[in-house]
Symmetry: C2
Subunit: 409 residues, 2 copies
């Protein structure tokens, strides 16, 4: 089927979401069936507003540069498509621009949107192939072994924990405890990932607080005191989603901007909370770090495995669409741990949209403050290799699109 | 003069302070005059407590590995030597262990300590050569063009700002403002360094808040609104040392641990303060990041120039001591900006101890929210090249000493 394609990125950026966009774009440009290769400016908002830009008018070197540029070069958003009017508007824009291929790089909500657009198009007899490309640092996407973006956030955050851990090791006579806050609203995937930094008992992190384990102040205090007594220091990784036994978050942001467009509570401050708790309850000085969005955009130290998988999934989405697939997300299917091997597969967008990959309970150690070797087996392959940043004047060189908007066909 | 040497590290870690230690150790081991090569465990505390370990009993590969290991592998402290009793104790330990060479890697306070020990030894007729090796991310050391540690924190933090800046650029429809807190208690050297990340008007950082510029809420607000109106987003770097016109810090930590052993106020929370201010005053959502000790220990992306200079200064301190120097700190003297060239020199420890290198007022732009091209000329050469981290299983490999204590001679 001949027609134009549009690629869009949605939700929180990652270090490798642009690698997926690069895969989609470079693959799409190879095929005659795909005439115009467009990007939606700022995710689904770009589609709704008819703000599409022409990727064939961008410098091919810039497109190639996506592989080493973090965050969403096409622009992203957190707009939740809910109303029939919105879905109808999306289809109208697709009609006007003769969009026949829609590649949506994102998480749960994006897969839901792509699925509903695809269904509406089918009902209206408009031929459209909508394909999802998985993306999330949170690694909570169903139907895929893991999501691109996860390996890189883990590699980078684990490195931060190792490095800051050495700082605490050097300074334990004054700064005894260090608390590092990890992202991850609902699942402990990211915080758990920092366990990869620990090669021996002395190494950080010493305690990991996961959202899956109700925060038990007394047990936590005893654990910190154990480390202070044995190695004179304690490095703690706390997930922003850590909760009390009653289900309430240990640290909520308050005020006007305390929840996002999806109604998700915006977290932050869990690190500060734990630092204060340690100082108040254990009477030792603690430091804290909140890497926030820095952790998810570490392109200068992204996982090469992650980046290559992100790129491959982009190309694969295009190939599968051209082969006639529609309403599916391309997935990663692990066929072997050692040597690590993943193949690509397909899942129904609706299955992804309605699913959630929880952190396996059996990978949480009995003490609740660390993870098992099974997790290492799962996650270790995802952080192998480093993306070589393109450097200029001592700093990475990132690309930026000119974003010339296209007119309707 | 034949005898043992001791090397010590003091104060806050850097990404390259171990490179200086490596320089001292490898150079000391080459010379017959230096018999025992010892390290003080935890800076001057190790000397006071007679906790010295034998570097000849450590694996040479571990010593070599110092070049890519962050923080202070010998251990550090913030103990301020003040009393005559302490100084006498230090000299006693030197006598007992036949220490004739003392290499102290640190900042202001360390140079002061080394100077006083040297003077006491002279008064008592004990032959000792005490040499300082500069180290501080703060870059506020007098008598040297710059201090090792500074180039690496700037390179890494500027990269973080670039990467998080791309995040904000992608997400501006929801997360419009991002605030990143930089270290730097008294001087804006580190915060200013993030200006290197900005290649064009669109690039982060858009606003830099320096301790040297009294925080003017109205001017700040106008500046943020300017960026929101022109590029729909604003990335702000705030130095932890930013002050109101009356000299009080915009954000102080409170509580029992609010000041360190030197009486310096422990800062933190400036980033959170500015985020809250933006949300309250400008009514847009803001995010914040507090990289804290992570920024100063980024060995995985340290500046090669910085690391090589740190190493060279270590070796140079040993050579100069063997040539008869005493009571001096080795310095960097810039002889050319382009091509960048630095030679090593010497300064009196007392001059360093009593001096302070302020951030030049003339390098602050007229608006007070950015720096001039002169700063770029100064700082750009310091971030060139990358230290290649030694990798294992997808993460950096750092070394650790066995620390076998030695007995008195």
């Amino acid at each position: 089927m001949k027609g134009n394609c549009v690629v869009a990125q949605s939700g929180g950026p990652t270090a490798v979401i642009n690698a997926s966009a690069c895969g989609v774009i470079q693959e799409a440009m190879k095929h005659e069936e795909i005439t115009g290769v467009y990007a939606a400016h700022n995710g689904i908002l770009g589609v709704l507003n008819g703000a599409l830009f022409d990727l064939r008018r961008e410098d091919p070197a810039v497109i190639e540069g996506l592989k080493a540029t973090p965050a969403s070069a096409l622009g992203s958003c957190r707009y939740k498509v809910r109303t029939d009017e919105d879905f109808r508007k999306i289809l109208d824009v697709f009609r006007r621009y003769n969009i026949r291929y829609f590649f949506y790089i994102g998480g749960n909500d994006s897969m839901d949107t792509a699925d509903k657009v695809s269904a509406l198009a089918a009902r209206e007899g408009y031929e459209l192939r909508a394909m999802g490309v998985p993306k999330t640092i949170d690694n909570d996407l169903a139907c895929t072994d893991h999501a691109p973006g996860y390996g890189s956030v883990v590699k980078y955050l684990a490195t931060m924990v190792m490095e800051a851990g050495r700082d605490t090791e050097a300074m334990y006579t004054t700064d005894t405890v260090n608390v590092i806050e990890a992202m991850g609203r609902n699942a402990g995937w990211i915080a758990a990932g920092t366990a990869l930094a620990k090669r021996c008992e002395e190494d950080a992190p010493h305690i990991i607080l996961l959202p899956e384990v109700p925060f038990d102040v007394a047990a936590f205090k005893a654990r910190v005191e154990h480390y202070l007594a044995t190695i004179n220091r304690c490095v703690i990784v706390v997930s922003e989603g850590t909760k009390y036994p009653d289900g309430s978050y240990i640290a909520n942001q308050t005020g006007e901007f305390a929840s996002d467009a999806f109604g998700h509570t915006q977290l932050g401050g869990a690190g500060l909370f734990v630092k204060d708790l340690v100082e108040r309850e254990i009477k030792v000085k603690a430091r804290f770090a909140i890497p926030s969005t820095i952790q998810r955009t570490g392109a200068h130290f992204a996982s090469l495995t992650d980046s290559m998988e992100a790129y491959t999934l982009g190309t694969e989405a295009v190939r599968r669409a051209l082969a006639g697939e529609n309403g599916k997300m391309v997935t990663l299917e692990r066929t072997s741990d050692d040597p690590y091997r993943c193949e690509t597969g397909l899942a129904l967008l609706s299955d992804v949209a309605n699913g959630e990959k929880l952190f396996p309970r059996e990978w949480i150690a009995a003490d609740g403050f660390s993870v098992t070797g099974e997790f290492d087996r799962y996650a270790r392959p995802l952080i192998q290799g480093e993306v070589k940043p393109v450097m200029k004047d001592g700093l990475p060189l990132f690309v930026r699109f000119r974003k010339e908007l296209v007119r309707p066909a």
